[in-house]
Protein backbone atom coordinates (compact mmCIF):
# COMPACT_ATOMS: atom_id res chain seq x y z
CA UNK A 1 0.00 0.00 0.00
CA UNK A 2 1.09 3.51 -0.67
CA UNK A 3 -0.44 5.05 2.45
CA UNK A 4 2.80 6.40 3.81
CA UNK A 5 4.56 7.38 0.63
CA UNK A 6 5.20 11.08 0.23
CA UNK A 7 5.94 13.09 -2.88
CA UNK A 8 7.36 16.61 -2.81
CA UNK A 9 6.70 18.63 -5.97
CA UNK A 10 8.61 21.88 -6.39
CA UNK A 11 7.06 24.45 -8.71
CA UNK A 12 9.15 27.27 -10.17
CA UNK A 13 7.18 28.26 -13.27
CA UNK A 14 4.38 30.78 -13.02
CA UNK A 15 1.38 31.75 -15.13
CA UNK A 16 3.59 32.94 -17.99
CA UNK A 17 4.34 29.28 -18.74
CA UNK A 18 0.94 27.59 -18.47
CA UNK A 19 2.17 24.14 -19.43
CA UNK A 20 5.00 23.93 -16.90
CA UNK A 21 2.75 25.61 -14.33
CA UNK A 22 0.06 22.98 -14.88
CA UNK A 23 2.11 19.76 -15.11
CA UNK A 24 3.15 19.79 -11.42
CA UNK A 25 -0.54 20.08 -10.46
CA UNK A 26 -1.36 17.16 -12.77
CA UNK A 27 1.28 15.06 -11.02
CA UNK A 28 0.06 16.23 -7.62
CA UNK A 29 -3.54 15.39 -8.52
CA UNK A 30 -2.57 11.91 -9.68
CA UNK A 31 -0.56 11.42 -6.49
CA UNK A 32 -3.24 12.50 -4.00
CA UNK A 33 -5.75 10.37 -5.91
CA UNK A 34 -3.35 7.43 -5.44
CA UNK A 35 -3.22 7.88 -1.64
CA UNK A 36 0.28 9.36 -1.81
CA UNK A 37 0.90 12.27 0.58
CA UNK A 38 1.73 15.38 -1.43
CA UNK A 39 3.59 18.53 -0.53
CA UNK A 40 3.78 21.16 -3.25
CA UNK A 41 6.50 23.77 -2.83
CA UNK A 42 6.24 27.08 -4.69
CA UNK A 43 9.37 29.09 -5.35
CA UNK A 44 10.25 31.93 -7.72
CA UNK A 45 7.43 32.76 -10.14
CA UNK A 46 5.80 29.49 -9.10
CA UNK A 47 4.46 31.27 -6.04
CA UNK A 48 2.21 33.37 -8.28
CA UNK A 49 0.10 30.24 -8.87
CA UNK A 50 -1.13 30.31 -5.27
CA UNK A 51 -1.87 34.03 -5.34
CA UNK A 52 -5.66 34.44 -5.10
CA UNK A 53 -7.30 34.68 -8.52
CA UNK A 54 -4.28 33.60 -10.55
CA UNK A 55 -4.96 29.84 -10.90
CA UNK A 56 -8.27 30.68 -12.59
CA UNK A 57 -6.34 32.40 -15.41
CA UNK A 58 -4.04 29.47 -16.22
CA UNK A 59 -5.18 26.95 -18.83
CA UNK A 60 -2.68 25.00 -20.92
CA UNK A 61 -3.91 23.40 -24.17
CA UNK A 62 -4.92 19.75 -23.73
CA UNK A 63 -4.50 19.99 -19.95
CA UNK A 64 -7.16 20.21 -17.27
CA UNK A 65 -7.63 23.82 -16.05
CA UNK A 66 -5.27 24.72 -13.22
CA UNK A 67 -7.96 26.00 -10.85
CA UNK A 68 -9.76 22.65 -10.77
CA UNK A 69 -6.48 20.80 -10.26
CA UNK A 70 -5.58 23.10 -7.37
CA UNK A 71 -8.98 22.49 -5.76
CA UNK A 72 -8.60 18.72 -6.16
CA UNK A 73 -5.11 18.69 -4.66
CA UNK A 74 -6.30 20.66 -1.62
CA UNK A 75 -9.50 18.64 -1.24
CA UNK A 76 -7.57 15.36 -1.20
CA UNK A 77 -5.11 16.59 1.42
CA UNK A 78 -2.20 18.01 -0.56
CA UNK A 79 -0.19 20.68 1.26
CA UNK A 80 0.88 23.96 -0.31
CA UNK A 81 4.13 25.51 0.96
CA UNK A 82 5.24 28.87 -0.39
CA UNK A 83 8.71 30.41 -0.29
CA UNK A 84 8.77 33.34 2.10
CA UNK A 85 11.17 35.71 0.27
CA UNK A 86 9.50 34.88 -3.06
CA UNK A 87 6.10 36.12 -1.88
CA UNK A 88 7.57 39.10 -0.05
CA UNK A 89 9.50 40.30 -3.09
CA UNK A 90 6.30 40.14 -5.13
CA UNK A 91 4.19 41.79 -2.44
CA UNK A 92 1.67 38.94 -2.39
CA UNK A 93 2.16 37.44 1.06
CA UNK A 94 -1.32 38.55 2.17
CA UNK A 95 -3.01 37.45 -1.06
CA UNK A 96 -2.43 33.71 -0.99
CA UNK A 97 -5.15 31.10 -1.50
CA UNK A 98 -6.63 29.35 1.50
CA UNK A 99 -4.37 26.59 2.77
CA UNK A 100 -1.13 28.04 1.40
CA UNK A 101 1.53 28.18 4.09
CA UNK A 102 4.47 30.56 3.86
CA UNK A 103 7.72 28.95 4.94
CA UNK A 104 11.47 29.10 4.53
CA UNK A 105 14.30 26.91 3.30
CA UNK A 106 14.78 24.58 6.25
CA UNK A 107 11.13 23.51 6.05
CA UNK A 108 11.54 22.66 2.37
CA UNK A 109 14.68 20.69 3.22
CA UNK A 110 12.79 18.84 5.95
CA UNK A 111 9.95 17.98 3.58
CA UNK A 112 12.29 16.78 0.84
CA UNK A 113 14.51 14.68 3.07
CA UNK A 114 11.46 12.96 4.62
CA UNK A 115 9.80 12.31 1.24
CA UNK A 116 9.82 9.11 -0.78
CA UNK A 117 10.73 11.16 -3.81
CA UNK A 118 10.75 14.70 -5.15
CA UNK A 119 9.94 16.25 -8.51
CA UNK A 120 11.21 19.67 -9.53
CA UNK A 121 9.50 21.72 -12.23
Amino acid sequence: MADHEKLVIMVTHGPEDPELATIPFVMAGAAVASDVDVVMGFQGDGCRLVQKGVAETVVAPEFAPLAGLLDSVRELGGKLLVCSPCVKSRGIEDELVEGAEVCAAARFVSEVTSATNSLVY
Binding site: A2, V26, A33, S34, V36, F63, L69
Partner: protein
Protein backbone atom coordinates in the same frame (compact mmCIF):
# COMPACT_ATOMS: atom_id res chain seq x y z
CA UNK B 1 -19.58 -12.94 -20.21
CA UNK B 2 -21.51 -12.83 -16.96
CA UNK B 3 -22.47 -9.27 -16.13
CA UNK B 4 -20.69 -7.83 -13.11
CA UNK B 5 -22.98 -6.03 -10.70
CA UNK B 6 -22.22 -2.32 -10.74
CA UNK B 7 -22.86 -0.43 -7.49
CA UNK B 8 -21.95 3.08 -8.67
CA UNK B 9 -21.31 4.75 -12.02
CA UNK B 10 -18.92 7.64 -12.66
CA UNK B 11 -19.06 9.60 -15.90
CA UNK B 12 -15.63 11.16 -16.47
CA UNK B 13 -16.10 11.65 -20.21
CA UNK B 14 -14.53 14.87 -21.42
CA UNK B 15 -12.29 15.21 -18.36
CA UNK B 16 -8.54 15.44 -18.90
CA UNK B 17 -5.73 13.70 -16.98
CA UNK B 18 -5.61 13.33 -13.98
CA UNK B 19 -9.25 14.27 -13.31
CA UNK B 20 -10.72 10.83 -14.18
CA UNK B 21 -8.65 9.19 -11.43
CA UNK B 22 -9.17 12.13 -9.06
CA UNK B 23 -12.94 11.65 -9.46
CA UNK B 24 -12.47 7.88 -9.22
CA UNK B 25 -10.58 8.23 -5.94
CA UNK B 26 -13.39 10.37 -4.51
CA UNK B 27 -16.10 8.01 -5.79
CA UNK B 28 -14.37 4.95 -4.32
CA UNK B 29 -14.48 6.54 -0.87
CA UNK B 30 -18.27 6.23 -1.04
CA UNK B 31 -18.19 2.50 -1.77
CA UNK B 32 -17.94 -0.37 0.67
CA UNK B 33 -15.22 -3.00 0.20
CA UNK B 34 -16.32 -5.46 -2.49
CA UNK B 35 -18.53 -2.97 -4.31
CA UNK B 36 -17.87 -2.12 -7.96
CA UNK B 37 -17.48 1.24 -9.70
CA UNK B 38 -18.11 1.63 -13.42
CA UNK B 39 -15.97 4.47 -14.80
CA UNK B 40 -16.39 5.89 -18.28
CA UNK B 41 -13.74 8.24 -19.71
CA UNK B 42 -12.68 9.60 -23.07
CA UNK B 43 -9.16 10.74 -22.12
CA UNK B 44 -6.80 8.17 -23.67
CA UNK B 45 -4.48 8.68 -20.71
CA UNK B 46 -7.05 6.86 -18.59
CA UNK B 47 -6.12 3.61 -20.36
CA UNK B 48 -2.78 3.60 -18.58
CA UNK B 49 -3.77 5.78 -15.61
CA UNK B 50 -6.54 3.58 -14.26
CA UNK B 51 -4.49 0.35 -14.10
CA UNK B 52 -1.59 2.31 -12.54
CA UNK B 53 -3.95 3.90 -10.02
CA UNK B 54 -5.50 0.52 -9.18
CA UNK B 55 -2.04 -0.98 -8.65
CA UNK B 56 -0.92 1.87 -6.40
CA UNK B 57 -4.07 1.93 -4.29
CA UNK B 58 -4.64 -1.82 -4.16
CA UNK B 59 -8.07 -1.69 -5.80
CA UNK B 60 -8.93 -4.38 -8.34
CA UNK B 61 -9.43 -3.51 -12.01
CA UNK B 62 -11.91 -6.15 -13.13
CA UNK B 63 -12.44 -5.16 -16.72
CA UNK B 64 -11.42 -2.61 -19.34
CA UNK B 65 -12.95 -2.17 -22.75
CA UNK B 66 -13.71 0.49 -25.33
CA UNK B 67 -17.15 1.33 -26.68
CA UNK B 68 -17.29 3.84 -29.55
CA UNK B 69 -14.33 5.86 -28.32
CA UNK B 70 -15.37 5.67 -24.66
CA UNK B 71 -13.15 3.72 -22.30
CA UNK B 72 -15.04 1.68 -19.72
CA UNK B 73 -13.48 0.40 -16.51
CA UNK B 74 -14.95 -1.81 -13.78
CA UNK B 75 -13.10 -1.40 -10.49
CA UNK B 76 -13.75 -3.37 -7.31
CA UNK B 77 -12.97 -1.69 -4.03
CA UNK B 78 -10.74 -3.94 -1.96
CA UNK B 79 -9.87 -1.68 0.97
CA UNK B 80 -11.10 1.25 3.03
Amino acid sequence: MAATQVDKELDARGLLCPMPIVKTAKAMKELAPGEVLKLTATDRGAVTDVPAWAGTTGNELLETHEEDGVFVFLIRKTQE
